[in-house]
Symmetry: C2
Subunit: 206 residues, 2 copies
């Protein structure tokens, strides 16, 4: 089982590393880190990640994981959406976390599908003719999209349950001790006070 | 505010990237990725991360974050524990995730302190004279230790609340959409069936 974790400049590292540390330890999995070139890729808070292959060289993967982050350049450049359109054709699962779904939308992968993205950026989907669904994980056939950043962990565990079975998924959840205790009850816009939502949206769009 | 995220071979990437994507976006923070050399460091499921500085060059940080993973080599080698003992002296906060606390114990940082680690590896603390506390986050003065892997996200948000204030911590929690929906209720040994705990422990110790 080949899993392609997509890397691009100004991505949010946790969007990718959450799913990676769920899926990357599964039996029979080979993890690929695919980017435009083999040069290290800088994430949006300074961490640099090393690709193992390039969009030109990796033409198939069983599972594709597209992280979010600042997708402006990748949407304008078009190379990554074009690659996604191609690899999606033979992939078993095409997945995204956070604003990574905008890249799937740009690639045409979300045409006629239900999908989600980070709560503060619904326009990245709606501008591309895709309706934004406010759920943490949205599955539509072989496409699974997750809400913002940390939702990638939930998505990868859900995918593990479907593809590898509940027993293995439960083992992974226990292995990463995923029994969350968030310090505040404000992790989604439905739960947060309106002022906090407005402030956070403003900071994220700055 | 200088934050040192420690990198070493066979670390678990999520242990570091969870706290990094909470703390790394805070106002006034400079993130440093510190390792033995400037060569990329391979995590335990294949992802390679690029250091920005070395143990020899970074002699002070306000916050230190030590991830877990396979700590066997680092405990035996001694370079990292020695560095931790030194930088802890002037740090405002010394923190660990998962088995990273074994490196703090080896460094003497946990002497007389309450601390936790991954549930499957209590001996890494008890063998070093430190009692294992079965809590998700344990604070003792300027030292904060977190349970396995994903607990680093909770720890970093808690630290943000103490050091930067609740308002900013809430904003970060909402920005990373941290409103977890784990697919199973088995993320800690207290909640998981005994057979699952035994199986998972066996796999982790293999």
């Amino acid at each position: 089982m080949d899993i392609a974790f997509v890397l691009y400049p100004n991505m949010t590292a946790l969007d990718m590393v959450g799913p990676y540390d769920v899926l990357g330890h599964l039996p029979g999995v080979t993890a690929h880190f695919v980017a435009a070139t083999l040069e290290p890729v800088g994430a949006d808070a300074g961490l640099r990640l090393v690709p193992t292959t390039t969009f030109a060289d990796l033409t198939h993967a069983d599972v594709i994981v597209v992280p979010g982050g600042d997708v402006t350049h990748e949407l304008a450049d078009g190379t990554l959406p074009k690659w996604l359109a191609q690899v999606h054709e033979t992939a078993k699962w095409t997945t995204s976390v956070c604003t990574g779904s905008a890249l799937l939308a740009e690639a045409g992968v979300l045409k006629g599908r239900r999908a989600t993205t980070h709560w503060a950026f619904p326009e990245l989907l709606t501008d591309r003719g895709v309706e934004m669904v406010s759920e943490r994980i949205v599955r539509d056939g072989p496409v699974m999209t997750a809400a913002g950043v940390s939702a990638g962990i939930d998505m990868a565990l859900a995918l593990t349950g479907i593809e590898w079975g509940d027993d293995i998924a439960k083992r992974i959840q226990l292995a990463i001790e995923y029994d969350p205790e968030p310090p505040y009850d404000c992790g989604s816009p439905a739960k947060a006070p309106a002022e906090l939502v407005a402030q956070t949206r403003a900071v994220l769009h700055a």
